[in-house]
Each structure stands twice: as structure tokens, then as C-alpha cells.
């Protein structure tokens, strides 16, 4: 792990000191994300989920851990691959699935779909399919928090690709100038669609070093290891909450399935089966389960109970999403503007 701000001390709360119930809650959160995503992948070919969908299978550790470290009044913004972030921030599984199905009961009333989740109730202020677009918005959210003088923070989830967008530098620069309580969580999964990191960024230059050069408190870590992810994130969140600095973490991980859609795509040639299998060996859930077994926190029965609870919850949520009604056609123009605004388009279209 790298810590580019030597004056910052490690958090006093270490993962090792956390109790068994906490450690099991992290496992449950990871399993929940995995099982939801796998169920989406299974049902996707039925053609009822009609929006482009980006799954987080293989990347469960970072969202599951950070979800346990944020409070309700903290805010988060995310990317096209947002399901895990939404669920980790306390999002409603039923509302998320209904949104992916385009239903009125979705968190955005079916207006957005998988890539465009918003849920103000849990401080999830939006994910967007324009890579990098939520970065300055998140910085604006952090400015509003700082002006209110509370200890809340904003988490900006981004990937390795977003680092290449100019707006990352622009927003990070401003966050450093203003010492804003923003935490950039970069899940480096090595790929932007079909382009590996090595053809997009110079080899040998680290993303966390770019962040550090901009002036962010910056660390990196293994995003498939719960204890390490926990350590990196607790330090970052402490620095952020205390108002010392805007912070950045780069956590290394790997997406198992295709960029967009339910399938595996190791056969199409932009990455190798061997690389995938090597990462699969480092499945964050299996690694964590092994650790919990060894520590005698987890046993087969506890695991089975956990899985059965999650299966029931997930099946109920899919049932809810599939049986919810679509938004009525007469609401197609609503709500573009605040009520009372005359929309000429509607008049013309209605003749």
C-alpha cells in the first residue's frame, strides 16, 4: 500500500479489531451484490430488461466495504457500472431492479435504467453513462457539505478510464484548492470497454501518483482483499471527514464479465482466458470466505443461512420488478420542467 501523505496517520480502527458480526455483514454485502448481478445475467436474455447493463461481478469488495463506512447523510455519485455502488450506499434492491426493467416503481420511475440510478433518500445523487460527468457534480456536492459545516463527505466512484477524461483533473484541482470533503474511489479494473490500460496510459505511471501530483491525499491497495480495502478506505475517509484534504484511493480489481451485458467475453481476443482465470483465482468473495473460515467467524451453516436469506430477498425483488406497471404514456413529458411550464413540443405533437 502506498500512502503519499506521510503526515497522515493510519486509522485507529483496524479491520482486524472489528467484530465477527461486522465481518459477516461485509461478506453478506459482497454476496448480495454478486447474487443480484448473477441473477440479472441469468434473466437478461429473456429480453425484459431492455437497457444496456454493466455488471460488477468480480468487483464486489470495494463497494461492500465502503458501504459499511459511510453514513446516511454522506453522498455518492457513480458511473455506468453503478449497481454495486447503489446497493452499497443503502439503495433499495426492488427500486433498482424495477428501474432496470423500466417500471414506474423504479428509483427514477423508469426514466433512466441501469446506468442512470438516482435515489435521493439514500444520498445516491446519480450515476451517469457519460464517463467522468459525475466527477465535477460530486465535487459540487462536497462544496455544499463544506459550506454547511457538517462532517459529511461525498464519494465519487470512478474507473481507470475516467482518469483519462480532462474533467477528472479539473475537478480534482478545484477540490484540492478548496480542501473539499470528497473521496475519489477509483476501481482500476484494467479495461475501458475493449482497451487495456497499457494502450491508454503510459506503462509505469501509476494512477494514484497522478492523483498525488494534483495534490490529493492518495493511496492505492488491493481491491480484492477486504482487510486491505478496509484499511485504505478508513484512512481516506478519516482524512476526508476531518477536512484535512480531498482524498483519492486506487483499488485494483477486475471485471469478470463483458463490458456491457451478461456474458463472458474472453474468447473475443482483447484479453486472455489465462488472465481471467488468474483473477478468478483471486475472487474477492472466495478469498474473504477462506479468511473468515480460518478465523472461525464463518462456517458452512452460517453461509447457507446467509445465501438462503439473500435468495429469498432477490427473488422477491425480481418478482416486484417484473410485476410492476410501466409508467403511463401520458407521463412521457413529465417532469421536464417544474410544473406550469408550457412545452411547445407537446402542443405541436398533439396537433
Amino acid at each position: 500500500m502506498k500512502n503519499s501523505s506521510p503526515e497522515t496517520q493510519e486509522s485507529a480502527v483496524t479491520f482486524e479489531n472489528m467484530n465477527g458480526a461486522y465481518k459477516l455483514s461485509v461478506l453478506k454485502s459482497m454476496l448480495r451484490i454478486r447474487m443480484v448481478e448473477e441473477e440479472i445475467a441469468k434473466r437478461y436474455p429473456q429480453g425484459k430488461m431492455r437497457c444496456p447493463t454493466h455488471l460488477s461481478v468480480g468487483q464486489e469488495c470495494v463497494p461492500a466495504v465502503i458501504g459499511t463506512l459511510l453514513s446516511e447523510s454522506d453522498l455518492a455519485v457513480s458511473t455506468h457500472r453503478a449497481h454495486a455502488h447503489y446497493l452499497a450506499k443503502g439503495g433499495d434492491l426492488k427500486a433498482m431492479l424495477a428501474e432496470i426493467y423500466g417500471k414506474q416503481s423504479g428509483c427514477c420511475k423508469g426514466r433512466g435504467g441501469s446506468m442512470h440510478l438516482i435515489d435521493e433518500k439514500v444520498g445516491f445523487k446519480g450515476s451517469t453513462a457519460i464517463v467522468g460527468n459525475t466527477i465535477p457534480i460530486g465535487v459540487g456536492l462536497a462544496l455544499s457539505q463544506k459550506l454547511r459545516g457538517k462532517n459529511d463527505i461525498t464519494v465519487v466512484f470512478l474507473g481507470d478510464g475516467a482518469i483519462e477524461e480532462g474533467v477528472f483533473y479539473e475537478a480534482a484541482n478545484f477540490a484540492v484548492v478548496k480542501k473539499l470533503p470528497v473521496l475519489f474511489v477509483c476501481e482500476n479494473n484494467l479495461y475501458s470497454v475493449y482497451s487495456p490500460l497499457k494502450v491508454r496510459q503510459p506503462q509505469g505511471r501509476k494512477i494514484c501518483d497522478i492523483a498525488s501530483t494534483i495534490g490529493l491525499h492518495s493511496q492505492e491497495g488491493d481491491g480484492n482483499i477486504v482487510a486491505e480495502t478496509h484499511r485504505v478506505l478508513t484512512t481516506a475517509i478519516d482524512v476526508c471527514r476531518q477536512g484535512q484534504s480531498a482524498t483519492f484511493v486506487e483499488l485494483h480489481t477486475y471485471r469478470w464479465r463483458e463490458h456491457c451485458g451478461p456474458h463472458y467475453d474472453n474468447d473475443i481476443g482483447y484479453r486472455s482466458e489465462a488472465e481471467f482465470l488468474a483473477w478468478k483465482e483471486r475472487d474477492p468473495i472466495e478469498l474473504y470466505k477462506t479468511q473468515l473460515y480460518k478465523a472461525k467467524i464463518l462456517d458452512a451453516e452460517k453461509l447457507q443461512v446467509m445465501i438462503r436469506q439473500l435468495e429469498t430477498e432477490i427473488q422477491d425483488a425480481f418478482q416486484f420488478a417484473e410485476t410492476s406497471p410501466y409508467p403511463p404514456s401520458e407521463q412521457a413529458y413529465s417532469p421536464v420542467f417544474a410544473q406550469g411550464v408550457n412545452i411547445n413540443i407537446a402542443e405541436v405533437a398533439n396537433g
Binding site: 455544499s144 479539473e170 421536464v336 411550464v341 412545452i343
Partner: protein, 325 residues
């Protein structure tokens, strides 16, 4: 009442808005101590402090991105883009985020408290990147209002209404008239309606429609045509989105003729949208084709600024062509 130019009227409106509501914030490039390159934000930082009035880095998409975040949390940001030509780096944030938040959140929240102020337009020998009129780009984007005042009285009343409107507003200020247009402005707080055109002068033969700095151009052309016996009805559109089709169509039903003048290039300009709607709604009232007198379809030129501009002479000629169709 006090005599003010447009800059003073804008500054006065900002002072009133900030006094009236402590959530109002003003930020952008150089808006702080020196009050911006045109001094529209003079003395705001001194009076309201650096938390509410501050300079940003050179980061237009950031300015709007930060403003989106702030507005979604209840602040009332008045963000300045130093020149309308610099708005394009922020185009993505405005079109993809500002304008969409209310709709895409299913009405959970919006960034409707955001107002974006920007000086637009030519006639100041500014060349390619200090002269453009980008209103039509944003008119193609449902979810944002566009407002353009023609004089100090309009500027103050429309800006106060824009800041307080529950929708994001792009407020475009005619920089050619910033100091040139001087008029009586009430010192107290007042608002003018958004989405409402204003019939500036009634007439019977032809309707002349413009907005912002082009209003004085069509007024001058109308005076010339008046000497030839042509009675012009002059309308200031004021809001480009949503635009007041009813007032324009009522006028065209009376006059039977319409000329639209704007400084932006002809092709794809907002005149095209107005013309399409008016021919649809007033087809049987029209005595002649709808005329458009607009900027040339070229990048905004320096040496050819005179040729580029849809001036009063081009407008007068188009009035006479329309009258004798």
C-alpha cells in the same frame, strides 16, 4: 428610478438576489474582487464574502458541474461563463446533466435553482471566440430555459425572475449593449415573466421578431420602412425556451407577414424553429414567405464582421421584399 446600463442593472439584480436569499452564490472566472472582466459582479465578494462569491479555476465544465452539485443540494448558484463562446467546454454538463436531472431522477430533485449567466454576441471586434450567439444549441435541449434581455430594465427584471425560477436558466447578456444601452431602472425588486414575448410596438403590415441586441436593429429598420408606409409590429421574444408561440402567432394572424432577425448563423438558428411553428399554425394567414435575416453561415469573422451582421439595412431590404412578394 435610476439611470443604469445593462451591466449596472445585472449587478443591481445580483445584489438584490443575494440580499434576499442567503442561498444565492455567485462564482466563475474572475468574478470575485475585480467583479469579472465586464465588472458585472462588482462589490459582491466584498459584501457577501468569499464563501458566496468566489473565483474558480479556468474550468468551464467544472463551473457547471460544481453548480449542478450545489443546486441539487439546495444552493442557488448563479454561475458565470465569462464569454458565451467559452460555454462549449461546459456544453456536456449543461445538456447532459443540468437539463436532465429533474426528468432523469423521476422528479426526486432538480438543479432548477441554477442560473448560468453569459455575455454573448458580436459587434465588438472580438473575432471568432468573443462574439458568438449560441442560444439555438441549447434550445434543442429540453429541460433548460433560455432568456435574453434587450435593455437594462429587462435585464434586471428577467435576471431576478431567472434566479428565482424553479428551472435551470441560461441567461444570455448582449455584451455589445452592456454599456451602450442605458435606461431608467426601478431601484426596487421586481421581476418580469419568463416565457412571455413582449409586443414593443404595435403595427399592421408585418411582424418583426428579434431578441437581445438585435432589437435595436429591427427597430431601426422599422423606422426606415415606416417612411415607405410600412407599419411594423415589433416583438421581443425575450425567452428562447420556452418560447411564446401564442403572442407571435396572434401577431402574424393580424399582419400576415413575419420577419425574424438573429445574430447567430442562419442555418439551424432559432428563427428556423419559429418559422416552422408559425407556418404550421398560421398557414392561411400568411401573405408572403417568412423572412429570416441572420448571421452568415461562417465562423464569426473579424475583418468581415460588417458583412456577417444582420444589420438594419439587410433587415429593411428584407421587409420591403416581404411586403412586395
Amino acid at each position: 428610478m435610476a439611470k443604469m446600463n445593462i451591466l449596472q442593472a445585472v449587478n443591481n439584480a445580483l445584489h438584490i438576489a443575494m440580499e434576499d436569499n442567503e442561498k444565492v452564490m455567485v462564482f466563475g472566472e474572475d468574478v470575485g474582487h475585480f467583479g469579472g472582466v465586464f465588472r458585472a459582479t462588482s462589490n459582491l465578494q466584498e459584501k457577501f464574502g468569499r464563501d458566496r462569491v468566489f473565483n474558480t479555476p479556468l474550468v468551464e465544465q467544472g463551473i457547471i458541474g460544481f453548480a449542478n452539485g450545489l443546486a441539487s443540494q439546495g444552493s442557488v448558484p448563479v454561475a458565470e461563463i465569462q464569454f458565451g463562446d467559452y460555454i462549449f467546454p461546459a456544453f456536456d454538463q449543461i445538456v447532459n446533466e443540468t437539463a436532465k436531472f429533474r426528468y432523469r431522477s423521476g422528479g426526486q430533485f432538480s438543479v432548477g435553482s441554477l442560473t448560468i449567466r453569459t455575455p454573448y454576441g458580436g459587434g465588438i471586434a472580438g473575432g471568432h471566440y468573443h462574439s458568438q450567439s449560441p442560444e439555438a444549441f441549447f434550445a434543442h435541449c429540453p429541460g433548460i430555459k433560455i432568456v435574453i434581455p434587450r435593455n437594462p430594465y429587462q435585464a434586471k427584471g428577467l435576471l431576478l425572475a431567472s434566479i428565482r425560477d424553479d428551472n435551470p436558466v441560461l441567461f444570455m447578456e448582449p455584451k455589445r449593449l452592456y454599456r451602450a444601452s442605458v435606461g431608467e431602472v426601478p431601484e426596487e425588486d421586481y421581476q418580469l415573466p419568463l416565457g412571455k414575448a413582449e409586443v414593443v410596438k404595435e403595427g399592421s403590415d408585418i411582424t418583426l421578431l428579434a431578441w437581445g441586441a438585435q432589437m435595436e436593429i429591427i427597430e431601426k429598420a422599422a423606422e426606415m420602412a415606416e417612411k415607405d408606409g410600412v407599419s411594423s409590429e415589433i416583438i421581443d421574444l425575450r425567452s428562447i425556451q420556452p418560447w411564446d408561440a401564442d403572442t407571435i402567432c396572434q401577431s402574424v394572424e393580424k399582419t400576415g407577414r413575419l420577419l425574424i432577425n438573429h445574430e447567430a448563423p442562419l442555418t439551424g438558428g432559432f428563427a428556423a424553429e419559429v418559422a416552422a411553428t408559425v407556418q404550421e399554425r398560421c398557414f392561411l394567414n400568411l401573405e408572403s414567405p417568412i423572412a429570416r435575416v441572420c448571421g452568415l453561415d461562417t465562423p464569426y469573422p473579424l475583418a468581415h464582421e460588417k458583412e456577417y451582421m444582420p444589420d438594419h439595412l439587410k433587415t429593411y431590404e428584407a421587409i420591403m421584399r416581404t411586403m412586395h412578394f
